[in-house]
């Protein structure tokens, strides 16, 4: 355990010291001498961000249900804290028992975004755990990782012992039980790793070798032992109503990004937007029933005292019984000053009506995501909205008293022309015209529209996994094309740094050779790469150069149909054939309808949500 006096010297000097003390309401502190497997769960970013992640609350409460297991939390210390910890010789510790991370049996990372990878190395280093899997002995914790980025695990292959693919509710317990068995009969990492290979969703990179062609692409990936499966299937939970769902959440002392009850309505999405990785990874769509959700909401509000319930899902407005759920929640909790909120909005009046029902605060801003500026390009990415939808939704919103609109776009989408990019300007002006075309006496509020353009990053397991990303210069040229074309004080255009998106794109479709670059970048001082003020492109470029790896090979190369991808050994249920078909359809500008209408043949088995709409 970390000595309190030593910690006090440090905590007195850092900003937001409450990030590092634990002891929040509903945190669970067990006697670590009495549990059989100690699991340290790490979200490799700062506390305020990590605590907003729903998956953490699910796994934390799931694992801690069992007397044999303890799950404790670790986050990356902020820059000021890290510096003082290194100076005072304080190793990284878990928030619950303030026990050193290296004394845990398992250290598990959740991989939510590629730009957190250098933080993973920093966590290992601050814990005093060797970075490379092959350098760790039986005395070091087993290092595992899961989450959306684990679907392309290869860039982290050198560091992570075990990847867990898919939904964690079941497989995590299977893994922990196996660990317990092995620990009881004498721990040997090697035999444990071999023994878990038959668990669905488990991938152990060291049991595979990758052979490359002359051109740098992959020839084949071969299992090195018989037990290692050639194809690793993702895990999915069949019935969400009977699946474990937390009835409590840790309530942080400091304000976090999402400081509220998070109610997960469903998993999966049927819209089929071609840029969206989550839309493919989490298929098929599976809903929780309104009665189950009402029960969970009641428990969560009682146990946390939160004043807000956020209805969370990939596309919340698609929940088949949203109207019923929202009015029931309002009826039950409204009087206690507990509100309901929607994280995202569909472009239609149905969504705005629901928003109207729940919005108790001043009508301020509304956010929509047309994603692309022109209809042609929206068809390419299969974003099933047209200009008419936007016009209707925005007019309706203005009539109802909203006056500030935010529009989200991506720049650098496949087949994009300058005309498409300038569509961002056109839509923004259109929104402004709709507001001011209304008679003066009907206009309410102080109008503004903010359009923001992020740089498109092609991701694995999407129809765009074959495409080349725009170059950094091209991104910048396009961003300025839009920016310079807007000459209106009421319209603001923001764009993201293309350098970050470039590195993200390299890692997102990278192979295991990239482990070296990530390690080198970290050694040079890269960390918190997802934070604009800490991202240092110069250091990343040096890391690529020194490891003699061309980032452009990964980010800016159009792939052939038959290229073998580093992630192809993973079976997410959606077939590569389907993804390629979608890619071809996108190039032809053809739409694919919402698959609840009729099956579009993505390859997922046992899909049951057909024909269910709200």
């Amino acid at each position: 355990m970390i000595e309190k006096k030593k910690l006090d010297r440090v905590l007195n000097k850092v900003i937001k010291p409450a990030r590092y003390i634990g002891m929040e309401q509903n945190s669970i502190i067990k006697d670590l001498d009495k549990v059989k497997v100690k699991f340290a769960f790490c979200f490799p970013d700062v506390y305020d961000v990590g605590m907003s992640h729903l998956g953490l609350h699910i796994l934390y409460n799931l694992i801690n249900q069992y007397d044999d297991f303890a799950c404790e939390r670790v986050f990356t210390p902020w820059i000021d804290m890290e510096e003082l910890m290194r100076k005072e010789g304080i190793p990284l510790y878990t928030l619950e028992n303030k026990e050193e991370v290296r004394d845990f049996d398992i250290l598990g990372f959740t991989l939510q975004y590629e730009m957190s990878y250098t933080n993973i190395l920093n966590v290992l280093d601050l814990s005093g755990i060797p970075l490379l899997s092959r350098d760790r002995s039986n005395d070091d914790p087993l290092v595992i990782a899961g989450g959306p980025c684990a679907y392309n695990p290869e860039p982290l292959a050198d560091f992570i012992d075990v990847f867990v693919l898919g939904e964690g509710e079941e497989v995590t317990l299977e893994l922990l039980n196996k660990y317990k068995e092995h620990k009881e009969r004498g721990w040997d990492k090697e035999s444990f790793l071999k023994d878990i290979l038959d668990i669905e969703g488990i991938y152990v990179p060291k049991f595979y070798d990758v052979h490359y062609k002359e051109d740098g692409t992959i020839r084949e990936m071969v299992p090195l032992i018989d037990e290692a499966p050639k194809v690793v299937k993702k895990r999915r939970v069949e019935d969400l109503d009977s699946m474990f769902a937390p009835e409590t959440m840790i309530v942080p002392f400091v304000e976090t990004v999402h400081d509220r009850v998070v109610l997960e309505l469903f998993r999966g999405c049927t819209r089929g937007c071609r840029f969206c990785q989550a839309g493919m990874l989490y298929r098929p769509i599976r809903e929780k029933s309104p009665s189950r959700l009402m029960d969970l909401a009641r428990e969560l509000v009682d146990n946390t005292g939160y004043e807000d319930i956020s209805l969370s899902s990939l596309s919340t407005c698609d929940y088949s019984q949203l109207q019923l759920l929202v009015s029931s929640l309002m009826k039950e909790h409204g009087e206690d000053n507990v509100g309901v909120s929607l994280p995202s909005l569909r472009l239609d009046s149905f969504s705005i009506d629901i928003l109207k029902e729940i919005e108790k605060v001043r009508k301020s801003g509304l956010t929509f995501a047309p994603e692309a500026g022109s209809q042609r390009l929206r068809n390419v990415i299969n974003k099933g909205v047209d200009e008419e939808d936007l016009v209707k939704a925005v007019s309706y919103a203005f009539d109802e008293g909203w006056s500030k609109i935010k529009l989200y776009f991506m720049i650098g989408l496949p087949t994009e022309t300058d005309e498409d990019v300038l569509g961002i300007r056109d839509l923004s002006y259109l929104v402004k015209d709709i507001f001011f075309n209304a008679p003066k006496e009907k206009r309410r509020g102080n109008f503004s529209v903010t359009a923001s353009g992020s740089c498109f990053v092609p991701k694995a397991f999407t129809p765009f996994q074959w495409v080349s990303q725009d170059s950094i210069e091209e991104f910048r040229r396009k961003a300025y094309l839009v920016k310079d074309s807007i000459k209106d004080k009421k319209i603001t255009f923001n764009y993201h740094d293309p350098e970050v998106s470039y590195v993200e794109a390299v890692i997102a479709r990278g192979d295991r050779r990239l482990s070296r670059v990530i390690k080198r970048a970290w050694e040079k001082g890269c960390k918190y790469d997802g934070w604009r003020e800490h991202f240092n492109f110069q250091l990343w470029q040096e890391a690529f150069d020194e490891e003699d790896i061309d980032g452009g090979f990964y980010a800016q190369r159009e792939r052939n149909e038959d290229e073998l991808f580093p992630w192809d050994f993973i079976d997410i249920g959606v077939s590569k054939k389907y993804l390629y078909r979608e890619y071809q359809k996108s190039l032809a500008g053809q739409l694919t309808h919402d698959c609840r209408l009729a099956c579009t043949g993505c390859g997922i088995r046992d899909c049951s949500m057909r024909g269910v709409f709200n």
């Binding site: 409450a18 590092y20 002891m23 309401q25 005292g305 004043e307 000053n337």
Partner: protein, 232 residues
């Protein structure tokens, strides 16, 4: 209906700032089912206020807040329900329904702090006491701090000697010295404990290691003539 509550804040929970503490209480009221009055308007919030907010990093044995209630609640019941939900290092200690209609903040005028620090020279308790007494007797303990002047903040010099009610050396173990310091709080002058520490360090009266300083607020007092009373 105002309920006046005394609570403490110990151990690691000294690292929770004032706004975080307000949020914590707001949620605790909800969980404990306390009928707190809410403000009207678009963004209703519970009506309660904590007197003389404690600086981050300082423990306390006695903090006070006034809570506005919809209905009168039984005090034992209130204390028990709150303590069931609150983290163990924050405890409700006492509560009363005050007779006078005066806010708790306006009643308080002194705070007693326990200060533990390490000194870098070998002095007896008596030596230290004498030096501190002389320091206070001399007066003119000047600090500079940012003060609001219209919209701007201006660095101003201020004599804090009148804001120090007295210093008692209570204990010394090895190089660790424990003091008790009475400091002015409230509208008629407010001395922040870290300003006191900085002034003491700057005075060179005793050589101290600033990193070793730990503070605890032992009591808040109201003043009646030359007598000090705890408000509950």
């Amino acid at each position: 209906m105002i309920l006046r509550v005394k609570f403490n804040k110990k151990n690691y929970l000294k690292y929770i700032g004032h706004l975080d503490l307000l949020r914590l209480f707001q949620r605790t009221f909800r969980r404990a089912g306390i009928p707190v009055k809410y403000s009207q308007g678009f963004n209703p919030h519970p009506k309660f206020s904590i007197a003389n907010p404690l600086s981050l990093g300082i423990e306390s044995e006695g903090e006070y807040m006034d809570i506005e209630l919809e209905d009168k609640v039984d005090i034992d019941d209130f204390t028990q329900k709150m303590n069931q939900v609150l983290p163990k290092d924050i405890r409700i200690l006492r509560a009363i329904y005050p007779k006078e209609n005066k806010s708790i903040s306006s009643e308080l005028s002194w705070a007693l702090y326990g200060v533990t620090l390490e000194i870098e020279e070998d002095l007896s308790i008596e030596d230290i006491q004498e030096r501190l007494d002389n320091w206070l007797a001399r007066g003119g303990i000047i600090i500079s701090r940012l003060r609001k002047q219209g919209k701007r903040k201006v660095m101003k010099e201020e004599d804090i000697a009148p804001l120090i009610g007295g210093i008692d050396v209570r204990d010394k173990t090895g190089s660790e010295v424990t003091l008790e310091v009475l400091m002015r709080v409230g509208e008629d002058g407010n001395l922040r404990p870290f300003d006191f520490i900085d002034a003491l360090k700057a005075s060179d009266i005793i050589k101290l290691d600033k990193d070793s300083v730990s503070l605890i607020r032992k009591a808040l007092y109201k003043e009646d003539g030359d007598q000090l009373y705890e408000p509950i």
